[in-house]
């Protein structure tokens, strides 16, 4: 019953904020547009808007800013399906599987049905994931709040290893991406001694590398470089279905919906389970769901030629990732995705440390102009998420073809220079430093190189965000340890049970499992 009281309280807090509802509505629209623009993702939108939200945090309130970012992540995932269906180009990696049946439907004049199926499935998956998040996070957090520095370090290490090993096609490249993010994060002032580390004599690096220029570099500028290479205009197939005999070509009909419900339910479970695992994101979920549902389907021969099930499965799975990907963040302080990593910064701006203590009911804090407990605040964000899903569902259901048409009309030769300038200005705005603009360009080139050589930008950013806390936890653990590094392998420290060895074993198990499955796949391919 307490969950329901918390949720109701969350809605109450949310609606009491005059800006929150507008920002969630705006986020639903912005996310759809950015997601639908091929190449640009919700992470890119967030990178460009984060400095503005931070500057205006006290004016608009912390809740509006965080809810905005949270909902952009959700609607951005959905927006990718519009480009996948209409342009045969996935707007985001998460909608790559949607293309397989979405575009054939567009070619056969049933784009309206495809878009509406994607909308309904996305909303279904997102609500499913959100419910898992609300019930799961609170229960897990009550267990994880007893952890001390050894467990925290072991969790961070496990996250590094797990993210590194699953995020890319190659385990070694995933791990190297996290190590690179970690070493960049260690530049700047030492958290314990206060001395400057690895600043290379550059004054601007004394306070470390800022997140915004890094995000802009690896997600936006690298994409601008790729788009400059292409300079092609998106071509959209004519949406006119008036010549078709099928009167339902524009609609996702009730019988189709009923047929898809079990499939959407199963796909949402795949998505939620994958979402809970740090590093595994929507792009994995959509292919797992598509593959599994195609294998189970009676009409598997028709998959790939334009069936609604081929859209419903990946779309419900990739959106079901959204909520559960917040579980590691809220219960362990580990971001499961790039968007979750950025949210850490926004939580900190509001004086909140992510982790199990975020569900504390006391003491009340002054957050975004209001006195409230962290628990009330987090449930208000959940409420924002639930409302945001409804908003993007409505906008998408009625406006997706319009968004598609508008994007097809956009002159890319003006759009990307515009985005480039905004991103350079946003890099400057994070600390009012011209050097940060230079760093954004540098990381744009690095990001481009990473994309061309299968390294993971997401692992790089997540590691960058986590490393300082990981180093602090490590050194704190060593201070309390009377057996050196063995503290991480013992089941007891300071007369209490330690979960650290369990986390390390889980990390090792994931790597071994991943290595074995990669070797098996390679062997199967060669034979």
């Amino acid at each position: 019953m307490m969950f329901f009281a918390d949720i109701l309280g969350g809605f109450q807090t949310f609606f009491a904020d005059p800006f929150a509802i507008w920002f969630v509505m705006l986020a639903a629209f912005v996310g759809i547009v950015f997601g639908a623009l091929p190449g640009l993702t919700a992470a890119a939108a967030i990178a460009m808007m984060l400095p503005i939200l931070i500057v205006y945090n006290d004016v608009i309130g912390g809740l509006s800013g965080l809810a905005f970012l949270y909902v952009v992540g959700k609607s951005g995932r959905y927006g990718g399906s519009i480009a996948a269906i209409l342009f045969n180009t996935p707007g985001t990696a998460a909608s790559a599987a949607t293309m397989q049946d979405g575009y054939p439907m567009t070619q056969s004049g049933r784009a309206g049905k495809a878009l509406k199926t994607a909308t309904v499935a996305s909303v279904f998956g997102d609500y499913f994931g959100e419910i898992i998040l609300i019930f799961g996070a609170v229960s897990i957090a009550s267990f994880t709040k007893q952890f001390g520095p050894p467990e925290n370090f072991a969790i961070y290490l496990m996250a590094f290893v797990v993210i590194g090993s699953v995020v890319s096609d190659s385990i070694i490249k995933g791990v190297l991406s996290t190590l690179f993010g970690a070493v960049v994060a260690l530049i700047g002032e030492d958290t314990i001694t206060g001395q400057f580390k690895m600043t290379m004599g550059i004054d601007e690096l004394e306070s470390g590398m800022a997140l915004v220029p890094l995000l802009i570099g690896v997600f936006v500028i690298s994409e601008v470089i790729i788009q400059a290479e292409k300079v092609v205009k998106m071509k959209m197939v004519d949406l006119d279905s008036s010549k078709l005999d099928d009167p339902t070509a524009h609609y996702f009909t009730w019988p189709e919906f009923k047929r898809c419900v079990p499939l959407m339910f199963r796909s949402s479970i795949y998505g939620s389970l994958i979402g809970m695992m740090p590093g595994l994101g929507s792009s994995v979920a959509c292919f797992v769901a598509y593959g599994e549902e195609k294998r189970k389907a009676k009409n598997k021969d028709q998959w790939g030629t334009g069936v609604v099930e081929g859209i419903a499965a990946p779309e419900s799975a990739n959106n079901a990732v959204s909520g559960p990907s917040m579980i590691p963040l809220l219960t362990l302080g580990i971001p499961g995705s790039t968007i979750a990593a950025v949210l850490i910064g926004m939580f900190l701006v509001n004086g909140l440390q992510v982790g199990p203590q975020i569900f504390a009911t006391e003491p009340p804090l002054f957050i975004g102009g209001n006195m409230m407990s962290p628990r009330e605040f987090i449930f208000a964000i959940f409420a924002g998420g639930l409302i945001g899903i409804a908003f993007y569902g409505i906008i998408g259901y009625f406006g997706a073809p319009l968004v598609g048409r508008a994007i097809a009309l956009l002159p890319t030769e003006y759009l990307y220079p515009f985005i480039f300038m905004i991103s350079l200005a946003a890099s400057y705005s994070s600390r009012a430093s011209i050097a940060d603009v230079g760093f954004a360009i540098l990381f744009g080139v690095i990001g481009y190189g990473m994309r061309r050589t299968n390294f993971s930008a997401a692992a790089f950013i997540i590691a960058f965000v986590l490393t300082t806390s990981m180093e602090t936890a490590f050194r704190q653990a060593m201070i309390i340890s009377d057996s050196g590094l063995l503290i991480f392998f013992k089941f007891e420290y300071m007369d209490k049970f330690s979960y650290a060895p369990i986390f390390l074993m889980i990390g090792a198990a994931v790597v071994i499992f991943r290595a074995i499955s990669t070797m098996r796949a390679r062997k199967a391919k060669t034979s």
Binding site: V183, M198, E413, F420, I434
Partner: protein
């Protein structure tokens, strides 16, 4: 589509770059003063930098054995348009330099014009029509609304003029 041989070559290059980064950060880690604690500020940077070098060696050995994994579309730099990449990076550098020399407003105009050129826009009229409103909007948003510090240009200080534009 690239060949396995090409991927091996690229992987060697990638391994070399990562090894260089690792060695660079090992040297940087040596510049950190050691404290009296068992685990000081140098431990973590050193461990990570050494791991980068080990990882690079692993990549190189993998390439040596020809185990570079599946060759996927858009892998490598064979399809890269070096001219356009240079143009975009050049636009960014031009923005930074002109920001430092002439201030934000002028930097946006110069950077945007250069970026339009990089994206193939050649109509002078369209460039002029789009660049000026763009500079105005960004200046208004970042310096006017967000009230960021608008540093004076080292060569020319246009702030009295641009401040009037945004009503300051």
């Amino acid at each position: 589509m690239v060949s396995d041989n090409y991927k091996v070559k690229i992987e060697y290059g990638v391994a070399a770059v990562i090894a260089l980064i690792g060695v660079f950060f090992i040297f940087q880690a040596f510049t950190i003063k050691v404290s009296g604690e068992a685990v000081g500020p140098r431990t973590m940077p050193m461990a990570i930098a050494v791991s980068l070098v080990i990882g690079a060696a692993w990549l190189a050995i993998r390439a040596l054995n020809g185990k570079v994994g599946e060759v996927k579309a858009e892998y490598g730099f064979k399809d890269s348009d070096l001219y356009r990449i240079t143009l975009v990076i050049g636009c960014g550098i031009l923005f930074v330099v002109s920001f430092w020399l002439f201030g934000f407003f002028t930097a946006v105009i110069i950077g945007y014009v250069a970026a339009l050129y990089a994206f193939g826009v050649r109509s002078k009229l369209k460039i002029c029509i789009s660049a000026l409103p763009m500079a105005y909007v960004l200046h208004w948003l970042f310096m006017g609304v967000m009230m960021l510090n608008d540093p004076r240009g080292r060569l020319v200080d246009l702030r009295p003029l641009t401040d009037v534009l945004i009503g300051n």
